[in-house]
Symmetry: C2
DNA sequence: GTTCTTGCAAACCCTTTGCACGTCT
DNA sequence: AGACGTGCAAAGGGTTTGCAAGAAC
């Protein structure tokens, strides 16, 4: 469910299995996108990936990037996050299995945290509703208890 | 933290306090938007609210609606959800305190559920990181255990 | 009176789409 | 050969913004 080591070879195989199973084609572009995501090794959005790939000479269009990100998400290789008013962010599902995000409503800070109890909730809910868990995304909205650390100014 | 009865009067007061505290102005439009949200009494997006208000003769512009939704979210009166590829959805924070969402990766179904243990996680994480909890949003991504219930077709 | 808010429409950003060409099967 | 994927640019939807008029302070 949550593999510790992100193994590109195994992920590539997982992608191939998905493409075959769903009768999508095996194209060079799709694998080049996956390779670059593994290289990036962090949160990213579609445009950041586009810029990264084209900067290093991998000529891939935005349309292909969006299309491949969709396939990688559907095959559970990527997790897609939708923060506040931002564009969709992605990351490898295997890389940081249990981390979630806390947003400060005053200053907009985003803090990452790990809390394994969330996995238990996910599994329990899936069990009760008749689903097989894949992943989850927990966002906590909060405000600083220490006002000096989190000083919200209207203008910002 | 999670009031059982959504009391418009109390919410209005909460909004007024927020506007004064942050030095925003007390305008009729802002309160008309809040009133209509209470009338709607369900999930909605900006455009649905715009259509609802203008259908019943409340002449309010989209710009004002977006602006007011932002203020209501910042004052913790509304909770903003960002599902799959959809527009931002809102609902009164007080109306359904503990419900979250499960998405089926195969057919796209969205199932609502209540799991109070999530609140404990939220409070624990906030405590450890030095935040005061406001609300949370847990999305679980899963697939049907029963394939006949959840038949994913590529075309869709 | 000054500053902020509103309304309108245009601009904006992110994402999807149509079409011609290229690639996989 | 045929069907699907790619690249490009243009369209699309949701949201924000610039500006003039109006309301709150």
């Amino acid at each position: 469910m949550s593999s510790a080591a992100p193994d590109l070879e195994q992920i590539t195989k997982q992608f191939t299995d998905f493409l075959r199973r769903k009768k999508f084609r095996i194209t060079q572009e799709r694998y080049r996108v996956l390779d670059c995501i593994a290289e990036l090794d962090r949160h990213f959005n579609a445009d950041e990936l586009y810029v990264y790939m084209n900067t290093k000479g991998e000529r891939v269009s935005r349309a292909t990037i969006y299309s491949t990100l969709d396939l990688l998400t559907k095959s559970n290789i990527l997790v897609r996050h939708r923060f506040q008013g931002e564009s969709a962010h992605f990351e490898l599902a295997s890389r940081m299995p249990n981390h979630d995000h806390l947003m400060c409503m005053e200053c907009g800070r985003i803090v990452e945290f790990r809390e394994t109890a969330t996995d238990a909730i996910r599994d329990k809910v899936c069990d009760e509703l008749g689903f097989k868990p894949i992943s989850h995304s927990l966002q906590i909205f909060a405000v600083c208890t220490d006002p000096t650390t989190c000083s919200f100014n209207r203008g910002s």
